[in-house]
Amino acid sequence: MGAKHFGARVKRLEDPALLSGRGRFVDDLKLPGLLHASFVRSPHGHTMVRAIDSQEAMAMPGVHAVLTADDLPEPMRRMPIPMLTPNPAIATPRTQTVLARDEACYVGQPIAVVIADSRYLAEDAAAAVVVDFDVLAAAGDCRAAIKDDAPRAHSDLASNIIARFPLAYGDVDAAFASAAHVFEEVLWQHRGGGMALETRAVLATHDPVADVLTVWSGTQTPHLGRGTLADLLERNLESIRMIAPDVGGGFGPKAIFYPEEAVIPAAALKLGRPVKWIEDRREHFLCATQERDQYWDMAIAVDSAGKILGVRGRMLHDSGAFVPWGIIMPYIAAVTVPGPYVVPAYRLETVVVLTNKVPTTPVRGAGRPQAVFAMERLLDRVARELSLDRAEVRRRNFIQPEQMPYPVGLLFRDGKPLVYDSGDYPKGQDEALRLAGYEGFRERQRAALEQGRLIGIGIGNYVEGTGLGPFEGVTVRVLPSGKVAVATGATNQGQGTRTTLSQIVAEQVGCRIEDIVMTIGDTGAIAQGVGAFASRQAVNAGCSAQLAGEAVRKQIIALAARALGVNENDIDLDDGLAVATTGNKPTIPFGELARLAQGIPGVSLPAGQAAGLEHTAYYTPPQAAYCSGTHVAEVEVDHMTGGVKVLNYTVAHDSGRVINPLIVDGQVQGGVAHGIGNALLEWMQYDENAQPLTTTFADYMLPMATDVPTCVIAHVETINPLNPLGVKGAGEGGTIPAAAAIIAAIEDALSPFNVHFAETPLTPERIVAALRASGAYERLFAA
């Protein structure tokens, strides 16, 4: 059967409502009697909280309550937010309590909440809450925080180091001892955030008659959120419903559970009225989790032909003040280093340390961009030192397609051995280089130089484990109306979940896409769920949709065959109609079959017939699905100002079988924009007291339309043999090698000056400083 919907550039079902301003984001929802919240937050990086005086605030107009930790129900009052990703390597798996009682450990940590008639009035009152602080020295820099005499990030912890883990395979020492060449690099990546355009938001209401607490949250993981909230309130899961409505971007930070997602429901319960909290952008800069702040000290050993013998090094990871997502990110970074290359021996010592900054959790790429940056910069170094072409060095080291499945020698974060299931790395690189015109670039570069323009080209390769478990369920149910109801724990923050799952279900069930009625992101619609992160939904929910759709298809065919009196082989399904292919070709619509499947009250169903016309599937992936890709960036550098422009950007992308090319291209393009931001613009700055310095969109710079070229994107599909769809994830690949490719391109553009860069974001000021140090300006101005 030729695919009708799967693989097609189907226009998105989500679009018409969003285009006409009829989206339903949390702040768009209205409930009668709604109250509004504003939080009182710690202004210090590290402080004891001695007393909270809310008398003046309580007397202000429109104020209904000022709640502190003592006003919260048990166990929420004292119980730290449960950590969902435990690891024995973590010495102190510390998470925050939902409101700080005695100690606050990062600027922005919530201490109290004001509930009032409007956000305006709530902010007025929040400004009048007086907190008696005992300010402590703050751990502001992770490099200083590992020292014995460093200020403690938490007053009761003897050390700021919360985990150390080595990862190793092969004989690294022998590899280095025998190598023809050893090169070292020190690399660093500054903090940044996902910075979705919609800030966080929580709306909670309690129905006292049914005793159901309903919470709308701008979350990527409503089922996980419900579970955590149930623990914090000690309520049955079934008495809480968490819904992620339209969510304006996720990118990782909205996957974890935040204090506000507990405090607002607690306030709604306490006051007996619905309560809404919309995070403002300043709060988002302070409190939404971030990523990076990693320092890498790496070395590569190669033979005289540039073949890798071993890689070793140390990595320091800033966890921030708490570890809500464990050590997932540094772990992912550590196992991503080998990438698409044969690395016979590898050792990385990772140290994870607490500071008094907001915690770091996965942001698009989840540690992989940092690892890829390290590996790709090392390979560029090998190329430069051995006078080899950078693409050739990579070619000599690629894992070949016939070596698949390829065991790397490490355990991945999914708990399974890191085994690449499929991939053709040489083909991907060749394709990207071809589309980027790599062969002819030196000539273009020379011609540009004659015009006084400096252009450069850079390459970045990556392998990414996606489609992580444990599962994401899908229920497919044909309704008597003929519509096909679909429910899933998968969520949508812009990736077009509704559309891609509809394509799969329509393909399997044989209905029209427009007849599908889908509920996503609602714990009331399906019993178990996980949510969106780690580019997992296409694999998990996609395969569940496939399996559920297949099962329902079989039921439809069986029912139709019985109803029409023909063999099952003689039934076709087309646009919601079961059609017999023999005799006078009778038909029966799906709706009528659904009615038949409900049976008659009091009468047994025929033998072999299941109840109803539905199926729920919870596909569980055996391991991660490994994507890969090659990015080629072309930049122009103004060597006088240090200004950088990305001229062209090419991506060869393997995310397995593609469900909707329109959507996958959009994910790659969007991911590249994040990568450009990481490489050139985005830097969440703090001072030495862990005070955030960049807390507005004027100070923290996101790429604009003039900063991101339209990418040339090629799909190199290697089918994932491990799942029924052959799909892999697509959400993060656009970001992962971007910084590596762009920094390499800048270096290439400035090759007449022989400068070297190993940090991001690479600012114009740093470029000028490096050029000045290399003597580039001496002849220009008699300063």
């Binding site: 285009l19 006409s20 209205k30 305006y120 812009g494 339209t710």
Partner: protein, 161 residues
């Protein structure tokens, strides 16, 4: 303190209200009138998610007070096409995958409405520069630029890209 009467015409309909002087135009539209298509992404005038037309010109609704718009005509995303239909620009967005999460989209549409009204044949660079007052975190802008150029062509009488 500070309540004021104001009369603002929004999408062709006149609304007279007494509001707090400090109520922003964005909050007036969203909560007083229930027109939630205009979004707030930063409340300090950089992201452009709150962009509306005031007397025909783009303005950041988070940087205006409703009382300032007294006597003015405001167009929001809800006013770009009759109910239930999509304008040429909106359709172009759908055809060219010009949106993902949709949060920046209303502001983008309003900004492009002004651009295409003033410049019937914008170059790609014209479009990109016009869009610098609107941030998008999902699309990487390619689909938006494509949609704008496609819409411009269709509005000029072409058959579309």
């Amino acid at each position: 303190m500070g309540k004021q009467a104001t009369r603002i015409t929004v999408n062709g309909k006149s609304h007279a209200r007494v509001v707090e002087s400090r109520l922003t135009l964005a909050d007036f539209l969203r909560h007083e009138l229930g027109l939630t298509g205009t979004h707030l992404g930063c409340e300090h005038g950089v992201c452009g998610a709150c962009t509306v037309l005031v007397d025909g010109r783009t303005a950041r609704a988070c940087l205006m007070f409703a009382v300032q718009a007294n006597g003015s005509e405001v167009t929001t995303v809800e006013g770009l096409a009759p109910d239930g239909e999509l304008s040429i620009l909106q359709q172009a967005f759908m055809d060219n995958h010009g949106l993902q999460c949709g949060f920046c989209t209303p502001g983008m549409l309003i900004t492009l409405t002004e651009l295409l009204r003033d410049n019937a044949e914008p170059s790609e660079q014209d479009v990109r520069e016009a869009l610098t007052g609107n941030l998008c975190r999902c699309t990487g802008y390619a689909g938006i630029v494509k949609a704008a150029l496609d819409a411009a062509q269709r509005l000029r009488g072409g058959s579309g890209a």
